[in-house]
Symmetry: C2
Subunit: 79 residues, 2 copies
């Protein structure tokens, strides 16, 4: 079973990487870019076969390791 | 208009970050993780109002700046 975790900085947390990308796009002539936020996506291959159990396990992974929940939010999709 | 770009290393390219995450999950007791691939997600706020034009513009951004198309593949979603 596959799972995808998307981790983004929470709204209000300064996204330095995103700002750098926005600036770089501006210098390349892409004028219509009003904001950029950059995050991480982690795709997991799991041995679990039960979707509900897999989602609970992936959420535990996020809380313990994958996301810094003080400044980041995460979203889990089971594929 | 919002767009989301997901950038992953192509299959066959060694994903060092993903391997590190897989190892760390194993040491934390998550035994059922068979593979991990880590990528980037970039969310863009665009001034464009036409979805087709916006998608073409974002693809141009990927080719020119956001993705290294030698080793990375990208996917564009208009939200």
């Amino acid at each position: 079973m596959k799972a995808r975790v998307t981790i983004m900085l929470k709204a209000g947390v300064l996204d330095v990487q995103g700002e750098a990308v926005r600036h770089a796009l501006g210098t390349l002539g892409f004028a219509g870019v009003q904001g950029v936020r950059q995050g991480k996506v982690i795709e997991l291959d799991l041995a679990a076969t039960d979707a509900v159990a897999a989602e609970a396990e992936v959420k535990a992974m996020c809380e313990k390791l994958l996301a810094n929940t003080v400044i980041e939010s995460y979203r889990v999709e089971i594929l």
